[in-house]
Symmetry: C2
C-alpha cells in the first residue's frame, strides 16, 4: 500500500481558479481571532490577488458589518468560538466555517507582517497564515504585505443599509444591473472593476484623499483625447494581480507570461498619457513605481508569442534565447530537411512517383511503396520492415541514423525547454512585489477614468466637500433611476439641509417618489466620498461619517423576521451610533403598530434626533399629524411631493417642495384605481368627519 | 449546393427532453385567439404528456390570471394582437411570444377536437394545432383529445393571491421548500407530482368531486398496510405520460420500452390493492380502464431486459421472438465456437502455447504467432497476412470462410433487429390512448395516497363542506409554519365565521402573527377544496368560489410598482369580483397613505364589503380607531392577538381572541429593542396625550 500524503487542501476561500472565481470580484477568505473582552481581530486575504488586510473591531455587530463588506465565502475561526456567534456567521453571511486551533509560533512568511505592531494585530494575521500554510502547503510569497486599517477610516454603513441602497447589487434579484456599481462601472480591466466595487462599499472620510481622486477625474474629463487613449491602453492590460498570484503559486504557463508581457508593454504608454494630464495626484502615484521593463525585456526575448498551453511539449522558448536549445533545434531542422531531400531523391532514382517517407510512433521513419509499384523497386535497395494490405514499408541504415539524431535532439530540446521555462518562472517571481504595486496604480487609474467617463455621459458635477458642512444639492438626480427611465422624464430635485433645517419631514402618498428622494441623497453622498462626481447641477456636501437607512421591508420578509421588531432594532442602532456628522434616512417608522402607538414613537424618535443627536435626517411618514412639529422643533422643516389635479384625477409631479402634503391624496389614488363610487364617496364623508374632529382639537388646544 | 429543408423547429414550448424539462413539472405551451369583443380563446398543451385543454375567457385580466396558472414558457399569438397586450404577456408572464398568422383549415389531427363544439372553441384549438404542425412537422397523435373546461369550475384566485399564499413556491426565493406543495407532496411518481401541483393551483368547486377524493383519502388512512403496498407499487411505475409522448414522437429506445413494461407489470398489483379498499370512488376510476396487459405481454416477449441505449447496434430483441433472428444468432454463435475450437486445436498441433486467434477491423480474424515461436511453425501451414515487430499474423481458408459467415449474420441480424424494433414501436403506438387514461388514474391514486400519508403524519382531519355555509375551524394550524417550527411550539387557533361574524377586524402589532392567522384560513380552504384533509381538530367550511388576498408588499417592491396604487388596484379587483361566497383577506389596507386618509378608505372598504358583498373577510389593521365599527356593523367582530406582560416585557401568545387589542404594544416592542429610555418615556407621554384627546372626542360625541 502506497501511503498518499495530502498535497493541498482546496477550500472555498483558497481556490485559485475555476468557476468559483469571477474576474470582476474578489474572493476573500476571512479569519477571526477573539481576544479578552469584546475585541476581535479580523484578517482578510484574497488568494487570487494577494491582497492582505487586518483590523481590530470593538464589538460583534461591528464585526458582522465589517465582514459583510467582504462578501466572504469562507471564514476561519477557533473552534472554541461561541456557538451562537458561529450560527450568526452561517445565517447572516452564508459562509463556510473552517477551524484553526493551532497556536504554535509562525516561522515562515513572517515578512508579510513585519511592518505591523506586535500583539493583537500580528496574532490575528498569524491565525490566517497558519491556516493557509496548513491547507495550501505552498509558498505564500505572492501575498502582499498585510496592511492594518481602521474601520473608522471609511464611512460606516451597516449591512442592511448597503443592501437597501443597492450599492453593488439589487435588493431582490441580487443582480449588478440596477445597482450603483452598474451605473459607475466603465472600467476597462478586471482589476479596475474589483477596485471600483471595493471603493463603492467603502467611501472615504479623508477630505484630501477624496479631493485627490476628484482632481484626476477632473483632468480626465477635460482631456478627452488622453482619456480615450488611456481607455484603449487599459484594454490591452490583463489581470496583473491574478497573474502574479499564479506566478507565485507556480501554476503559470507560457500563455500567462505572454499576457504579462503584453500588459507590461502598455505601461510606458499609460504613464506617458497620464504625464500629459499634469495631474499632481497621478504624478505622485507614478513616482517610485517601477514599470517592470526588465521583466518585459526578459519575457520578450524568452517566450514564444504563440506558445501552447502545455508547458511540457516545447514550443515555448524563443530561438536565440539559449545556444544549446538553438543547437538542438538546428539538429532537428537539418535532420528533417535531409529526410525531405531523401524522399525527392528516391522518387527520382526509382521512378516511383507515389513513394513517400512517413513516420509513426512504433516504427519511426520509413519509406512506403505501394504493392502496385513494388516490381519497380530494385531488389535489396531497402530493408523490409512492415507489410500492409496495399503497401510495404522499408527502412535504410542512413534513415535510421538520422532518425536517432532527430529523436534525441527532440527529447533533449523538450527537456531543456522545460528547464529554461522553470528558470524564467523563478526570475518572474522576483517581480511579484513591483507587479502588485503596478497593478494597484493601474487599477486606480482605471476606476478614475471610469468616473470621468460616467460623469461626462450623465452630466455629473464635482461635489464641494466641507467637513461638518451643510447639504446644498441643486437639481439632484437618483443615478440609477435616471439611467433606467427615458431621458427627460426624470424630475430633478433640490436637497438643502442646513443649520435651520437639519431634519426634513416628508409627507405624501407612496407613489410620489419619497423613497427615491431619500435614496438619492444617500447615493450622492456615497458617490462624492468615493471620489466620483455626482448627478446634480451643483452640490455642496459635508463628509458624512455614517449613513443609516431604514427604507422598505422586502428583505426582512425574506428572512422571516417581524417587520416592526426589525424596524425598532435598526432605529436603536441608528440613534445610538450616529453623530451630528451622520446621515439618517427613516421611512415610515412606526407603521408596524397601531396608529397612536406608532405616531408617538415616531414623534419621540424625531425629537430625540433633533435634540440629542443633530444628525442630518430625512424622515418620511404617513402620520400627517406630525407636521405640526414644525412649530415646536426649530430645525425641522416639512416638505412634500407636489401634485396637481388634472381632469379630475391627481398627477404626481415628483417634485419635492416645502410645506406639508395635502392629506387626501389616498382617496384620489383610490379613484384612479376605479373603486366603486359609493365606496369613494363614503370615504370622503368619513375623512371630512376626522378632519372636523382634528380642527376641534386644535381649537380646543388654542383655547 | 444542397438545399436543406427545415426538419423541425424546437421552441421553449415544444421541447421534448433535456434541461428545460423537469420531471415534476408540466411544460405548457399556450395559444391565444382573440375574438370580436372582449372574448379570448386559450388553448394549452403539454407536449411531453399530451395534455390538451381549451377554454374561453371573457376579459383580459381573467386571461392573465388563467395563463399564470399554467406557468407557460411560450405563448402563441396572432401578430395582429394589441402591442400593449403583448408587452403585458412579456412583463407579467416572462414568456417567449411566438406568432401564428395562418388561417387555412386544419385537415390533419382533427380527431383531437372532434368532441368539441364548433366555432370559437374549435378555432382556438386549430390555432395551436397549426403552429404545432408547422414547427414540429411530426405526428400529433400522442396528444390527448382536447378537453373544454370553464374557469368557473375551479376556485378563482388571481395571480397575486397564488403567489402570496405560497401555494407551489415561496414568494421571494421561488423555491418549493416552504410552499404548501412542499408539505403535501409525498407522491411516488413524477406524474403524481405534476398532478398534485395542478390540483393545488386549481381547487374544486363541485362538492361531490371533492368528497369523492376525501372518501378515498379516508380509506387510505384507515388501511395502513394497503397504503404501504400502494406506495411500494407506485415506486415501480415510471412516467407513463411522458413515455407515451416519446413513443408517438418516435424517439423511444429499448430502455424506455423496458420502463414501460416494468410499469405495466405493477398495474394489476395496484388495482388489486385498491380493490381491497372497497372505495366506490377508486372502483369507479378503475372501471373501463384497460391495464394494457397485451402491451405488457408484447414487450415481455420482445425486448431484452438489459438492452443498450442505441437502437442500431442490436442486442434489443429477445431470443425466440423471431425465428429468422434466432437463425442469424445461431450462425454467429456457431462460427465463434468454431474459431474458439480452432485456436485450441492449432495450439495442440503446433505446440505453440502462445498462439492465438484475434480480430481486427482491417484484416478480420487471424492467427498470431510470435517471432520467437515462428521456427516451430510448419512451413506453409498458414498464409502470411501481416508482419509486426514481434509477431506474424496468418490466415487460413477455413478461417476466412467462417469469418464471412459470421460477419454476414451479424450484419443481417443488426438490420433485422432494427426492423423488428421499429415494428414493435408501431405496435406500441396503438396503445397511446389507453396508456394516457391509465396514467391519469395512477396519478390520481398517487396524489390521494400522498394526501393520506400527509394527513396521518401531521394529524389532519377531514373537513366538512357546506356550500354557502359557515367557517368553524377548531385548533387550526398553518400547515407550512407548523412543519417548519419545532413540534409543540406552534399555537393553534380557532377561526369562526358565521352569520353574526362575517368580518373579523384584527388588531395588534406585526410580530404577533396576524398574517399567519389570515393565511392559515386561506390555505385550509384551498386544501379542503383540493380534496386534502386539513390541519385542525375539527373543520366545517363553506365552498369558497374565490379567494382574494392582499397581504405584504415584497413582490410589488420587486416589480418596482408603487405599493399604494397596487393596493388600491387589488382592492378594486376584490370588491368588484367577489360574491357572498368568497373569502377576502386584507392586510393593513390604507397604510400607504396618510393616517386619516387611509383610515377613511379602510373604513369605507369595510362598510362596503359588510353592506354590499357579504363575503367572509379577515381585515387586519393598525388603525385602532376602526375597532369602534363593531358598534355600528352587526356582522363585524373585533379580534386581536393576545399577549401578556412578563418581567417588564411583553410576550406574544400567538393566540387570537375576541375583542380589540391594547394599543400600546408598539412601545413595548421599542423597549424590547432597547431604544434609549429618554425616547421611550417621551413616547409614552405623547401617547397618553393622544389617548386623552380621543376620549375627549368620544365624550364630545356622546354629548
Amino acid at each position: 500500500v502506497v501511503r498518499r500524503e495530502v498535497v493541498q487542501i482546496i477550500t472555498p476561500g483558497t481556490v485559485m481558479e475555476g468557476q468559483a472565481i469571477h474576474d470582476n470580484e474578489n474572493n476573500y477568505l476571512l479569519s477571526i481571532t477573539p481576544f479578552e473582552g469584546e475585541e476581535i481581530g479580523l484578517a482578510a486575504v484574497d488568494m487570487t490577488t494577494g491582497e492582505f488586510k487586518v483590523t481590530i473591531l470593538t464589538d460583534f455587530e461591528e464585526l458582522i458589518n465589517e465582514m459583510t463588506g467582504y462578501r466572504p465565502k469562507e471564514v476561519i475561526i477557533p473552534s472554541s468560538l461561541d456557538v451562537e456567534k458561529q450560527q450568526t456567521f452561517e445565517a447572516r453571511l452564508k459562509v463556510t466555517l473552517s477551524y484553526e486551533d493551532h497556536t504554535e509560533p509562525v516561522t515562515e512568511a513572517v515578512a508579510l507582517v513585519e511592518t505591523l505592531s506586535e500583539g493583537k494585530i500580528k496574532e490575528t494575521c498569524y491565525q490566517l497564515i497558519r491556516y493557509l500554510q496548513r491547507t495550501t502547503k505552498r509558498s505564500l510569497e505572492h501575498l502582499q504585505q498585510a496592511v492594518y486599517y481602521l474601520p473608522q477610516e471609511y464611512m460606516s454603513m451597516d449591512a442592511h443599509s448597503k443592501r437597501n441602497l443597492e450599492l453593488v447589487e439589487t435588493l431582490i434579484d441580487k443582480k449588478k444591473q440596477g445597482s450603483l456599481l452598474w451605473v459607475l462601472d466603465q472600467t476597462e480591466t478586471a482589476m479596475g472593476a474589483r477596485m471600483l466595487k471595493q471603493w463603492i462599499e467603502r467611501p472615504l472620510l479623508n477630505k484630501q484623499t477624496i479631493e485627490n481622486r476628484h482632481e484626476l477625474v477632473d483632468k480626465l474629463i477635460q482631456h478627452f483625447f488622453q482619456r480615450e487613449s488611456l481607455q484603449e491602453q487599459l484594454q490591452g492590460v490583463y489581470d496583473l494581480e491574478r497573474l502574479s498570484g499564479r506566478v507565485a503559486f507556480g501554476n503559470v504557463n507560457g500563455r500567462d507570461l505572454i499576457q504579462l508581457k503584453k500588459s507590461l508593454e502598455k505601461i510606458p504608454e499609460i504613464f506617458n498619457t497620464l504625464h500629459e494630464l499634469n495631474s499632481s495626484y497621478a504624478n505622485s502615484l507614478m513616482q517610485n513605481i517601477s514599470d517592470c521593463s526588465e521583466l518585459r525585456d526578459l519575457l520578450e526575448t524568452s517566450i514564444e508569442e504563440n506558445c501552447p498551453v502545455s508547458i511540457t511539449e516545447g514550443g515555448i522558448i524563443k530561438d536565440r534565447y539559449s545556444d544549446q536549445l538553438d543547437d538542438y533545434r538546428d539538429a532537428m531542422r537539418n535532420g528533417k530537411a535531409w529526410i525531405a531531400a531523401l524522399e525527392k531523391q528516391e522518387k527520382e532514382i526509382t521512378g516511383i512517383r507515389s513513394l513517400k517517407v512517413g513516420f509513426n510512433k512504433v516504427f519511426g521513419y520509413y519509406i512506403e511503396v505501394t504493392k502496385a509499384n513494388l516490381s519497380q523497386l530494385p531488389e535489396g535497395r531497402y530493408e523490409r520492415k512492415q507489410t500492409l494490405t496495399n503497401a510495404e514499408r522499408f527502412i535504410t541504415e542512413d534513415l535510421k541514423e538520422k532518425e536517432a539524431l532527430i529523436l534525441e535532439a527532440e527529447e533533449k530540446s523538450g527537456k531543456l525547454e522545460y528547464e529554461l521555462f522553470m528558470a524564467i518562472r523563478e526570475q518572474v517571481k522576483a517581480f511579484i512585489r513591483p507587479l502588485q504595486q503596478l497593478a494597484n496604480v493601474i487599477s486606480i487609474f482605471d476606476v478614475l477614468q471610469s468616473f470621468a467617463e460616467v460623469a461626462e455621459r450623465h452630466r455629473y458635477v464635482k461635489p464641494e466637500l466641507k467637513p461638518a458642512g451643510n447639504v446644498d444639492i441643486r437639481e439632484g438626480r437618483h443615478p440609477v433611476v435616471e439611467k433606467m427611465i427615458d431621458e427627460g422624464d426624470y424630475v430633478a430635485n433640490d436637497i438643502v439641509l442646513g443649520d435651520d433645517r437639519e431634519l426634513l419631514l416628508i409627507t405624501g402618498p407612496n407613489m410620489a417618489g419619497k423613497s427615491t428622494y431619500m435614496r438619492q441623497l444617500a447615493l450622492i453622498s456615497v458617490m462624492a466620498q468615493t471620489g466620483c462626481y455626482v448627478p446634480a447641477t451643483h452640490a455642496e456636501l459635508p463628509i458624512f461619517d455614517q449613513i443609516f437607512t431604514r427604507i422598505g421591508a422586502a428583505d426582512d420578509l425574506a428572512h422571516g423576521q417581524s417587520t416592526f421588531m426589525v424596524e425598532m432594532l435598526e432605529t436603536k442602532h441608528a440613534v445610538s451610533k450616529s453623530t451630528r456628522n451622520s446621515l439618517i434616512l427613516l421611512d415610515e417608522i412606526g407603521r408596524g403598530t397601531s396608529t397612536y402607538d406608532g405616531m408617538s414613537l415616531a414623534q419621540a424618535i424625531i425629537e430625540y434626533i433633533h435634540d440629542e443627536i443633530g444628525a442630518k435626517t430625512l424622515f418620511s411618514t404617513h402620520y400627517h399629524e406630525l407636521t405640526h412639529l414644525e412649530n415646536d422643533l426649530p430645525k425641522l422643516k416639512n416638505v412634500h411631493v407636489s401634485a396637481k389635479e388634472e381632469n379630475g384625477t391627481v398627477v404626481f409631479l415628483h417634485k419635492v417642495v416645502d410645506g406639508a402634503a395635502d392629506r387626501s391624496y389616498g382617496i384620489y389614488v383610490a379613484e384612479l384605481a376605479e373603486l366603486p363610487d359609493k365606496l369613494i364617496n363614503r370615504a370622503k364623508v368619513i375623512l371630512a368627519e376626522f378632519e372636523k374632529e382634528q380642527s376641534d382639537i386644535q381649537a380646543h388646544r388654542l383655547k
